[in-house]
C-alpha cells in the first residue's frame, strides 16, 4: 500500500512555503522600502534615516536608536481591526526591533535614529517573520550599513505533524507555532518565539524546518536586491 501523504489545509506539502515574492524600492518618498507577498500576506515597509533624533534627551550617545512600528491596516483582517495600536502590535514592534537591531550597525550613527514603518495590508498568518524579512530588505535598500540580512520563517505542529510556514487556519487550529529569524551568513538566531507545546525532538525538527524555509526566503531577498542593480546595468533596447 502506498504511503499516505500528509496534505495541508491549503494543499501544500509539509515542507512547502506559500507562494512568495519580494520587491525592493516600491515607495518613492521613503529612503528605503520593500514589499513582501507570502501567500495572502501583503506587507509594505518604509525606512527613514539615519536622522537626528528628537527629543534630544532620548538620543543615545554611542549609537543610533532603531524605531520600529508594526501596524495592521483596518482592512487587513476579515473583521475590521481598530487602527489603534493594540497590545499585540506593540509587542510585535518590540520583537521586530530587537531582531533587526542585531544586524544594523548602529554605532556608526551616534545620537541619530532610524525609523522602520511596517504596514500590514493583508494578513494571513506568520506576519511577524514576513515583516522582518521585508524590513531587512528595506534597510539594505536605504543604504544603512548592516552586518547581515535578517530573514524570518515559521514552523508549527498541525495534527501531530511538523509543518513549514504556518498559515492563518493552521495557526488558529494547530498545536504549536515557532517563528524564528536568523542572520544566514553569521549563523545567528535573532528571534525565537514559541506558542503551544512541542517535545524536545519536535522542537529540533520544527527549528530545522523553519531554518530551511528561511534560507529559501534569503535567496529571494538577494534576488530582489540584485534586481535593482541589474536594471541599471543594461540600456533599454540593448541585446543581452
Amino acid at each position: 500500500m502506498a504511503k499516505e501523504e500528509f496534505i495541508r489545509v491549503d494543499g501544500r506539502r509539509p515542507d512547502q512555503l506559500r507562494k512568495y515574492r519580494i520587491r525592493a524600492g516600491v515607495l518613492k518618498n521613503a529612503d528605503g522600502s520593500a514589499e513582501i507577498r507570502l501567500g495572502k500576506n501583503w506587507i509594505v515597509v518604509g525606512v527613514y534615516g539615519p536622522k537626528e533624533h528628537f527629543p534630544k534627551f532620548e538620543a543615545l550617545q554611542d549609537r543610533a536608536l532603531l524605531f520600529c512600528r508594526y501596524h495592521m491596516a483596518p482592512y487587513s483582517t476579515t473583521e475590521r481591526k481598530s487602527p489603534k495600536p493594540s497590545r499585540r502590535e506593540i509587542e510585535l514592534s518590540k520583537v521586530i526591533r530587537s531582531a533587526l537591531e542585531q544586524a544594523v550597525i548602529l554605532d556608526r550613527f551616534p545620537e541619530m535614529s532610524i525609523d522602520v514603518y511596517i504596514e500590514v495590508l493583508q494578513a494571513e498568518g506568520s506576519t511577524r517573520v514576513a515583516s522582518i524579512t521585508a524590513a531587512s530588505v528595506a534597510l539594505a535598500e536605504a543604504g544603512i550599513p548592516m552586518r547581515d540580512m535578517v530573514v524570518g520563517c515559521s514552523a508549527g505542529k498541525v495534527n501531530g505533524k511538523i509543518v513549514l510556514d504556518v498559515g492563518e487556519e493552521e495557526d488558529k487550529h494547530g498545536e504549536a507555532d515557532l517563528p524564528i529569524a536568523i542572520m544566514p551568513n553569521l549563523k545567528k538566531v535573532v528571534l525565537l518565539q514559541m506558542d503551544g507545546k512541542l517535545t524536545h525532538e519536535e522542537f529540533k525538527e520544527a527549528f530545522e524546518t523553519a531554518l530551511k524555509g528561511a534560507m529559501e526566503l534569503y535567496e529571494e531577498q538577494k534576488r530582489a536586491l540584485k534586481e535593482l542593480i541589474e536594471k541599471m546595468r543594461e540600456f533599454e533596447g540593448d541585446e543581452k
Binding site: G32, A142, G143, P145, P184, N185, Q221, L228, M232
Partner: protein, 247 residues
C-alpha cells in the same frame, strides 16, 4: 591579477579587503581575516583589494567637502543649514557678518541670510557626535570663490550622493561632455545638490541627462552613450566653463 565584478548584498562574506573599503565603511570585520559587505552594491575585486560602488549610502561629510546647504533655522550666533546629511550643519555668524566684531545683541541675522536661502560652503570641521561646522573661506584649492556664499538665480536638482562619481565621470569626462552641450554656470556639490544658472532649455536638457545617468548608473560605456545622445565628440579638448566639483 584577475578582476572580478559582482553584485553583493549585506552579509556576503569576503576574505580579502582593501584599506579603502574599510575606511569608507563598506566592509565589516567579523573575525580574523573575515569580512562582510555592509551595503548593497557592485564590488570590484582585484589583487586582494575591494572597491564597492554602493547602491545607496548615507552621506557622511569629510573636512574640506564643498556642499550646498539651505538655511532652515537661526541660532543665537549663526545659521543652521540642511545639507542632506544625517544631521544639520552650523554656519557661524562671523563668516558672513564682516562689520567689526560680531555682537549677537546688535546684529539682526535675518538681514544677511533668510530661511530657505541656498548657500555654498566648505566643511570646516566635523565629528561623529553630530556637529558639522561650515566655512565660507576657501580653505581648499580648486574651489571657485564665486560659489562660496549665497547662491541666487540658480536652478536646482538633487541627486543621491552615490551617483556623483558617475555624473562627474573619470577625471571629469562626463561633466566636460555636458558642458560642451550647455553653457552657463554648473555647480556640483558633494552632498548631491546640483545647481545650474543659464537658459531654462539648457536646464531641461541637463535634467534629462542626469535622469539617464541615474537610471543606468551601473551600465558600462555610459559616457560614450551620453556623448552620442548629445551629439558631442569626446575627443575634442574643449574644457568649457569652470566647473566646481569641490575637489
Amino acid at each position: 591579477m584577475s578582476k572580478t565584478e559582482k553584485i553583493v548584498v549585506p552579509g556576503e562574506t569576503i576574505k580579502v579587503y582593501s584599506q579603502r573599503g574599510k575606511e569608507e565603511g563598506f566592509i565589516f570585520r567579523i573575525g580574523k581575516g573575515n569580512y562582510v559587505f555592509t551595503h548593497l552594491g557592485v564590488a570590484h575585486i582585484q589583487n586582494k583589494k575591494v572597491d564597492l560602488i554602493p547602491y545607496k549610502n548615507v552621506y557622511i561629510p569629510k573636512i574640506g567637502d564643498y556642499v550646498i546647504g539651505f538655511v532652515v533655522s537661526y541660532a543665537p550666533n549663526g545659521w543652521i543649514l540642511e545639507i542632506g546629511s544625517y544631521t544639520k550643519a552650523f554656519l557661524p555668524a562671523n563668516e558672513v557678518v564682516k562689520e567689526g566684531k560680531f555682537d549677537p545683541k546688535k546684529v539682526e541675522l535675518g538681514k544677511y541670510l533668510k530661511l530657505g536661502d541656498a548657500l555654498g560652503a566648505l566643511i570646516l570641521d566635523m565629528n561623529r557626535f553630530s556637529n558639522i561646522i561650515l566655512t565660507l573661506k576657501p580653505i581648499k584649492e580648486g574651489v571657485n570663490p564665486r560659489h562660496l556664499g549665497r547662491l541666487t538665480g540658480y536652478y536646482m536638482i538633487k541627486v543621491h550622493t552615490t551617483k556623483l562619481p558617475r555624473i562627474i565621470g573619470k577625471k571629469g569626462s562626463m561633466v566636460k561632455i555636458i558642458k560642451k552641450k550647455i553653457d552657463g554656470d554648473l555647480i556640483i556639490a558633494q552632498n548631491g545638490v546640483i545647481m545650474y544658472k543659464g537658459e531654462y532649455e539648457n536646464f531641461l536638457i541637463l535634467k534629462r541627462i542626469l535622469n539617464i545617468i541615474i537610471q543606468y548608473t551601473y551600465a558600462s560605456g555610459l559616457t560614450g552613450r551620453i556623448a552620442e545622445l548629445l551629439g558631442v565628440s569626446i575627443s575634442e579638448e574643449n574644457q568649457g566653463g569652470e566647473v566646481n566639483k569641490g575637489g
